[in-house]
């Protein structure tokens, strides 16, 4: 699979504030790629640069190897699903979907067929003559998707399309989007600040912060092997501890030596250690690697969430077994679940530039 889209050294500032700094990103054909990050991280600006709504100050946008940096949005073979749907209020559902096809001069029969096909695809059969204002938020979202995909774009851009929907509907739509992506066989570039959404749907997750790509990889690798503290805290809950890498596969945390699987950090090197709360195993005092006392307990439905004070660190622990506040426990972590990261040498290095 080749790259359908390449961003080369993209920089953009607004009012003197740097939003993107020499961003490089390759998008492989037929992938579901998610740009994930907190608000202001540059993910929406990146999407708008791809869509042609924002011109980068520097750098180039390549589409199938061709430079489209200065091409206006109406000349790009991409379509966008906007955050607030952006359906035309003065047109019916059918007219909305037909708009792009009418502009490209398709025949009436072709357009009618396409409207039917698209409505079926988004499970909205028979809605062609409805007024847009009669639709619920979820239905409007589906029509916005239908309006974009009838034009058979090679890349579909989605700007937080599920942001305004309630939780249940959002989860349903996530599965719908995965199904759509597989049926259409095109590239999706999806922008969200919701890490669960990103992990659920994507083939590739791009974690962004302060205009830099922090890490890029499969959902599993992003979750299990975060490369820095930002990624570790942004994706899911985590315990980030200061540690000392004694040698390959041996790290000292809270005064106790833990066996891990990471190598190549050197000898006696200070490192950051990430341990996911669900990977901490609680046991009787003295049975584990580190003794402690439960200080907080919350019932979360799927599991209990506890805080355990052990070795001068408040450990976040998730377990299906309850331990009451004040109870003495011990902690244990298997080597595979200990993730070692280099300590950032300066504040700036927190935002690492990663060449992909």
């Amino acid at each position: 699979m080749g790259n359908i889209l390449e961003l080369v050294n993209i920089s953009k500032s607004f009012d003197g504030e740097l939003i993107l700094d020499e961003l490089n990103l390759d998008v492989k054909e037929n992938t579901f790629m998610t740009l994930l990050g907190p608000s202001g991280c540059g993910k929406t600006t990146t999407l708008r640069i791809i869509g042609g709504f924002t011109t980068p100050d520097e750098g180039r946008v390549l589409f199938e190897g061709r430079d489209i940096t200065n091409l206006p949005p109406n000349k790009r073979q991409l379509n966008t699903v906007f955050q607030k749907y952006a359906l035309f209020p003065h047109m019916s559902v059918g007219e909305n979907i037909a708009y792009g096809l009418k502009i490209s001069g398709k025949s009436k029969t072709y357009i009618d067929d396409k409207i039917k096909y698209a409505l079926k695809l988004v499970n909205m059969d028979g809605y062609a003559n409805r007024d847009v204002s009669q639709l619920s938020g979820g239905q409007q979202q589906r029509i916005a998707i239908a309006r974009a995909i009838v034009n058979e774009p090679k890349v579909l851009l989605l700007d937080e399309p599920l942001g305004a929907l309630d939780l249940k509907l959002r989860q349903d739509m996530q599965y719908e989007l995965i199904r759509l992506k597989n049926e259409l066989g095109i590239t999706f570039i999806y922008v969200t600040h919701d890490q669960e959404e990103a992990l659920t749907m994507s083939d590739t997750v791009v974690v962004m912060n302060q205009g830099y790509i922090q890490q890029m990889g499969t959902p599993e690798s992003i979750y299990n092997e975060p490369e820095n503290a930002f990624v570790a805290t942004f994706i899911g809950d985590s315990n980030i501890l200061s540690g000392l890498m004694l040698q390959d596969k041996l790290v000292r945390i809270c005064g106790v030596n833990f066996i891990c699987v990471d190598t190549g950090f050197g000898v006696n090197k200070p490192v950051d250690v990430v341990i996911r709360p669900e990977d901490v195993i609680l046991d009787e005092p003295g049975m584990g690697q580190l003794d402690g006392v439960v200080t907080h307990l919350i019932f979360k439905g799927v599991h209990y969430e506890m805080e355990v004070m052990a070795g001068d660190f408040e450990w976040l622990v998730q377990s299906t077994e309850m331990h009451a506040v004040g109870e003495a426990v011990s902690l244990r972590v298997v080597p595979d679940n200990i993730q070692i990261m280099n300590k950032p040498e300066s504040e700036d290095e927190e935002a690492v530039v990663i060449d992909v």
Partner: protein
């Protein structure tokens, strides 16, 4: 207990004294002759070429004035949509500023400016150009109307246009529309409520105006408003004046109805 209904009393009184009673009085005078007998002659008086010609001429000038205002206001709305908040407010402020002055004064100011020996001609002559001789012609009347009524076209259009969500414009571009098609397919239809209000608020006063035509027309231009004024104030018949007023009101109501038909949702309707 103080009834909420009684709060509306001043308004009801105002409407009664300011609208209903005068209207009924006009209707009564229109339907009777000088001795108080029922007649349709006052309404039929509009058929007299002496009245019909000014009516048609008023329609024509009002139409031209409205068209010019619309052609000026719509592109301005498009431009203001894209400019920053501070700039927008400033431009609108400048456009409204003249409205703070009495409109008769403004019209008289134009008369002085446009005079054969006025300021404009003095400047034109000074740079070697020919004098502008439009005072006391319909051109001057239209100029005065456009100047006086333009803000009434700009404000409703501007108000509707700045509320159009920019993502709709971007969506149209995204779907392949050229800038012209974005304007025609998205911005124009969504501005319709404002355009309808603007057209109404420009067309009706320019149709019925008589002061502007008198001041800038120098007594040569007879619009339907001048005819009615003459009937009432300059030795004409109050009954004929009322009859013509009724006919003109029907004309205005018809044009309102036509306009509201264009504006399906009725959002911009002022009548």
């Amino acid at each position: 207990m103080f009834k909420r209904k009684s709060l509306s009393l001043p308004y009801i009184l105002f409407i009664l004294c300011g609208t209903v009673i005068p209207l009924l009085a006009i209707l009564y005078y229109a339907m009777v002759d000088k001795s108080g007998h029922f007649t349709l002659a006052n309404l039929a008086a509009i058929g007299d070429p002496l009245h019909l010609k000014p009516l048609l001429f008023s329609l024509l000038l009002a139409f031209i004035c409205t068209a010019i205002c619309l052609l000026l206001a719509f592109p301005l709305g498009l431009m203001l949509r894209r400019s920053g908040a501070g700039k927008k407010g400033f431009v609108i402020f400048l456009l409204i500023l003249p409205m703070w002055m009495n409109f008769l004064l403004r019209t008289i100011a134009w008369k002085i400016l446009l005079q054969k020996t006025g300021v404009i001609n003095a400047i034109l002559n000074a740079v070697g150009l020919k004098s502008l001789e439009i005072i006391n012609t319909p051109y001057a009347v239209v100029l005065g109307m456009v100047y006086d009524f333009l803000p009434f076209m700009i404000l409703p259009i501007y108000n509707v246009m700045i509320k159009i969500d920019n993502s709709l414009v971007e969506a149209a571009y995204d779907l392949g529309a050229s800038p012209f098609r974005v304007m025609k397919d998205v911005l124009l239809p969504l501005s319709m409520p404002g355009i309808i209000s603007g057209v109404t608020m420009t067309f009706v006063p320019s149709m019925t105006s008589f002061a502007i035509s008198e001041i800038l027309g120098g007594g040569n231009i007879s619009l339907i408003g001048n005819i009615i004024e003459g009937e009432f104030l300059r030795g004409g018949s109050r009954n004929v004046g009322s009859g013509i007023s009724m006919v003109m009101m029907v004309f205005i109501l018809i044009s309102m109805a036509l306009l509201n038909k264009v504006d399906k949702n009725g959002e911009g309707a002022v009548v």
